[in-house]
């Protein structure tokens, strides 16, 4: 009996340790980012860093302004949400409420597959198909642009939006819908007037999750956005916060490298904010 008890304690200890490992990593990354990110911001000046529109990190008189990256990330994410949310939302309503079992199985499978595709593959397809396509379609000299990145991001966030929304819609109590139907509402009326409002916190969480994915994506957008540090323009070459870090990190040194860490810190704060919003919505949906 005593032996059994000791064994139980031992296993509990292992689980506790593994749980703490995760917490430890989060703390480690946070502390490291703050320590690594602060010096450059100090040296450049926080206002100059955040609001200067010129990024020329290797010039003889370097300039480290990341406003173009911040705006590009915001616009790019907003664009992806504007395109992705209606598609994802309606798909999830269809799958959760309207679709026959067979279609549901096939479409859900496709959505899961979409979630499993590595981002570099999205980037590659975007680079080979989407970028030349945009160039021809809009008769512009080069297709690598904010627009191409928005389309890639919109597709990439679809699975998160669809899956989370479906879960939220399926959690709506059956009685609500039955009551609505019994009062004479049509099924479609019921879904949009009763089910969706009842699931709205969950759907909001899905959108926030999509924002989080879009703002954190680096590889795919790096391959289609052109990467020049310009102020954002729909058909212009742009650089995101993520790609600013990723594209220059390998060759960087000195203040340039420190500034890249500072960009990562800014990105980290953005994502923290989004996570806080996500937690807020999820909590509300539970209540």
């Amino acid at each position: 009996m005593k032996k059994q008890r000791a064994f139980e304690d031992f296993v509990h200890g292992i689980f506790l340790f593994l749980g703490l490992v995760t917490v430890g990593f989060v703390l480690l990354i946070t502390v490291y980012l703050v320590i690594a990110g602060i010096p450059a911001i100090r040296e450049i000046g926080i206002l100059n860093f955040l609001f200067n529109i010129k990024w020329a990190s290797t010039a003889s008189e370097p300039s480290y302004g990341i406003l173009p990256f911040i705006l590009t990330s915001v616009y790019g994410t907003a664009g992806a949400i504007i395109l992705g949310v209606p598609v994802g939302f309606l798909t999830s309503v269809y799958l959760a409420k309207l679709a026959p079992e067979k279609i549901r199985t096939v479409v859900s499978g496709a959505v899961s597959l979409l979630a499993g595709i590595p981002s570099v593959v999205y980037g590659l397809v975007g680079m080979m198909v989407l970028v030349p396509g945009i160039r021809r379609l809009f008769h512009i000299p080069d297709g690598a642009s904010l627009f191409a990145a928005i389309i890639v991001l919109a597709i990439m966030i679809l699975p998160s939006i669809i899956n989370v929304s479906i879960t939220a819609l399926e959690a709506v109590p059956r009685e609500y819908e039955d009551a609505s139907l019994a009062l004479g509402a049509t099924p479609v009326e019921t879904y949009f007037r009763v089910s969706v409002p009842a699931a709205k916190s969950g759907i909001a969480a899905a959108v926030v999750l999509g924002v989080g994915r879009a703002i954190g994506e680096a590889m795919a957008v790096m391959m289609v956005s052109g990467n020049a540090p310009n102020m954002p323009e729909l058909f212009g070459s742009v650089r995101f916060l993520t790609t600013a870090v990723a594209s220059e990190m390998s060759y960087s040194s000195g203040l340039q490298r420190q500034a890249l860490f500072s960009i990562a810190l800014v990105l980290f704060l953005f994502i923290m904010l989004i996570n806080a919003a996500l937690n807020f919505f999820l909590k509300r949906s539970k209540e």
């Binding site: 290797t58 080979m128 990467n227 020049a228 540090p229 060759y251 960087s252």
Partner: protein, 267 residues
């Protein structure tokens, strides 16, 4: 329960074994640096491993990181695709030029332009010339493709053409392969890439009437070229294995491997 513990123990043992393996560095040569030198170093490293039976590692991080790594003693030999800056030499590093590499100016095969001089190329990259018709091509806007800040190829290209900090890039891509793919897809694009990497799907321009090739890089008539440099530390001696590699790479024997990789050996 027991099963889980067994799995965990196995995992712990495997990781500890792996870590103990990687700390065994006595008979390896580690190099770190320029991504442009990948082909040259790849072939040299393979030949070296075969000849001496010493294992060889190459970490393609970029010239700046490679120089930093050798300075901090994280690798035996640093690889740089530019000459060392005076302040780097003052830090106790020295350079040995291994080979020269031409930087080809590349365009899409559909583009009728075949020759530009350095001055015109510089004007295109600074945005002074923005339409192909100004240099005898079709009436189309020039799409200027380059590499990211800090890249050895960009540094080499900009310093040779005198366009430092003045280039107006439409796209800044992070690898030679990306530049080649992008140029091969866009008929109005112009880009630059290591001569060694030039292949199908794109056209290398002649510069001032001289086509980039091994011969024209060697005799200096093709002007857009840069050195491939081995970087070593002055105050610490190379390990026996690293010295062997250094001697091998700079020997006349290695020249054929270097030219096989598309660069031009100095010895």
């Amino acid at each position: 329960m027991k099963k889980i513990i067994l799995i965990m123990l196995t995992a712990i043992f495997t990781t500890s074994m792996l870590t103990s393996c990687s700390s065994q560095t006595s008979s390896t040569v580690s190099t770190d640096g320029s991504t442009s030198m990948e082909e040259v170093i790849g072939i040299l490293g393979e030949a070296f491993e075969e000849k001496f039976g010493i294992s060889f590692t190459y970490n393609p991080t970029g010239s700046g990181s490679g120089i930093q790594a050798v300075k901090e003693g994280r690798c035996d030999i640093g690889l740089s695709s530019r000459n060392l800056k005076p302040e780097e030499k003052a830090d106790g590093l020295s350079e040995t030029v291994l080979a020269n590499d031409g930087i080809a100016v590349i365009i899409n095969p559909q583009n009728p332009v075949i020759d530009l001089d350095v001055e015109t190329i510089a004007k295109i990259y600074t945005g002074e010339i923005s339409n192909w018709s100004q240099v005898g091509g079709n009436d189309a806007e020039i799409v200027v493709i380059g590499r990211e800040a800090g890249s050895g190829t960009r540094d080499g290209f900009e310093s040779i053409t005198g366009t430092e900090d003045a280039c107006k890039y439409r796209q800044e891509l992070t690898s030679t392969g990306d530049v080649i793919t992008t140029v091969s897809q866009n008929p109005d694009a112009i880009g630059y890439a290591s001569l060694a990497a030039v292949g199908d799907g794109i056209k290398a321009l002649s510069v001032g009437g001289v086509l980039p090739s091994e011969d024209t890089v060697k005799d200096g008539s093709y002007v857009i070229q840069r050195p491939f440099v081995l970087v070593t530390k002055d105050d610490t001696e190379l390990s026996e294995a690293a010295q062997k590699f250094f001697d091998f790479a700079t020997s006349a024997d290695a020249a054929r491997y270097i030219s096989q990789a598309g660069a031009v050996p100095v010895n």
